[in-house]
Symmetry: C2
Subunit: 316 residues, 2 copies
């Protein structure tokens, strides 16, 4: 049976299987439905509660507790589990894959997924790893929404020699979901994301943890006066714990490398404060404004910035 | 002459002098006008360009290049300069202060302002240090807007023995500007703000600086893919360099103390990543969600959060 929404264009894929239906999986399901991109959607989830939610929300046409069953007859399979779970799910689904199927994923690290999933894929199955750089601090199938990917980048990291038609089909899926698709080497992706995403999350988790360890009375006031900048960090540090644990463990080298640099830079600032070196501080603060300008010019600052400028008290 | 806007209530103060008319000073001027809180507004600015802008925008009734001239006849004087400039401005204004005047400020550190300003105030002048916890990453007289302080906290830190009527008048001014007024000891304020505001800014400046030092090609991509979490840091790190230099230099002890704790916590996480201790990571990430919940419950998460959840790609 088919639950696809009516659309002027023909569906890109006959059947798509989503292995894992959290924030990204459910958003992808909703976006595929809205834009009429697939004939049929199958979903796999490990936990019975999640499967019940998927059914209740009608996110996929069928819901399965066995990956091999979910992928049976699918033209496209998208792994949407935390990256640490990829190997087990890939092994379990492999026997069910049909010849010529395309396998993709949405994980935040790309070398690890190639390492973990690749070996389980039979010949004739095309592997196109991908990473939609989109999300919120909320998780689970109820957190999804159809326009999550609109105007967001989606980076594909197909290993050399990957079938070009398969890459183009996956790219077209994301484009029709509203994303801007880019190609990159997996190792390069992991380095860039370590800086733009993994380190910021690690720092946010740390600083919120530091606040948590304050004396009870101070902790209450930290929450009360969170508007001074801390609040942004709490939002990031509210992100899914298992997903982020897996990211750090699976992008270890790039994260440790950038963390090392960050630590050195922080020590230098610490020293400047201790010795009252105002010029060194001001110099850095002037330079960081340039990066901010670059971010704003590239439009990644987001439309809500104008509102933040008006209402968000983080200035002093 | 009087430039006050019409209002049902009588003005709280006859004449108010704003020494420094940047983001906070100009916002305070606009809020005072909108709510009819003052009979007359005088402004002081060091730089001729700033004075020209204040005149062009009509932010104050008179504009001065001499603090003593600006405060002549003023019932309330509010220091709105970077905290490092307080001593010089206080010394310069002192000869012009009228007997019984109230002096306040808006600085982000409170022990330093008491140390720097107090000695210059003649007997009979009341000193009520204050800190509206509001702002944006923008600076200067053109960045101000009348509702900056709406539903924001304003912390007053009057030293023991301060005239209670003077404290209440300053409190009422901020309440009529829309702020929630709280009283606190100066030392406690500086500790709490070191955690909620100063450390987050320091970290943001550092991480954006780390990105800036990457190779040219990587730097461009960091800006391009900033949506992954980094973008929030660039906004904070776009804040006024001189103001923040002064904050770190003038809240040195509290900032270094909290920075020390943060550094230890970060080292622990670094070690957990290096040795693959997934449980330690997950434990922390679960705990930080509690703080986030506290922030949301206390309403400091801000109304734009719902929008962020929908559009802001920082998740993975």
């Amino acid at each position: 049976m088919s639950g696809a929404a009516p659309s002027a264009a023909a569906p890109l894929f006959g059947k798509v299987a989503l292995l894992g239906v959290g924030l990204i999986g459910s958003s992808l399901a909703l976006a595929c439905r809205r834009h009429g991109l697939v004939g049929e959607l199958a979903g796999y989830a490990r936990r019975p509660e999640t499967r019940a939610t998927i059914e209740r929300l009608g996110l996929t046409d069928s819901v399965h507790d066995d990956p091999a069953e979910a992928v049976a007859g699918a033209d496209l399979v998208v792994l949407c589990v935390p990256v640490g779970a990829n190997a087990a799910v890939a092994e379990a689904m492999a026997p069910g894959l049909k010849a010529g199927a395309i396998v993709s994923d949405v994980g935040s690290v790309k070398q690890a997924v190639i390492r973990d999933v690749g070996p389980f894929l039979p010949d004739g199955v095309h592997f196109v790893p991908g990473h939609p750089i989109a999300g919120t601090e909320h998780s689970g199938p109820e957190a999804g929404f159809a326009d999550l990917f609109e105007e967001r980048y989606c980076v594909l990291t197909p290993p050399p020699g990957t079938d070009e038609a398969a890459v183009e089909k996956v790219a077209e899926l994301w484009r029709r979901c509203g994303a801007r698709v880019e190609a990159m080497e997996a190792a390069h992706h992991d380095k860039v994301l370590a800086m733009t995403s993994h380190l910021p999350h690690l720092i946010s988790y740390t600083i919120v943890g530091t606040a948590f360890d304050l004396a009870e009375s101070e902790r209450g006031e930290v929450i009360k006066y969170a508007a001074g900048g801390f609040r942004d960090f709490t939002r990031i540090a509210g992100s899914d714990p298992v997903m982020w644990r897996d990211i750090f463990l699976n992008n270890r080298e790039a994260v440790l490398e950038i963390l090392q640099r960050f630590g050195e830079d922080l020590s230098r600032l610490q020293r400047a404060i201790r010795w009252g070196e105002g010029e060194a501080l001001e110099d850095l603060f002037q330079r960081t404004r340039e990066i901010r300008r670059g971010v704003i010019q590239l439009g990644q600052a987001g439309t809500f910035d104008a509102r933040e400028q008006k209402k968000d008290g983080q200035g002093d």
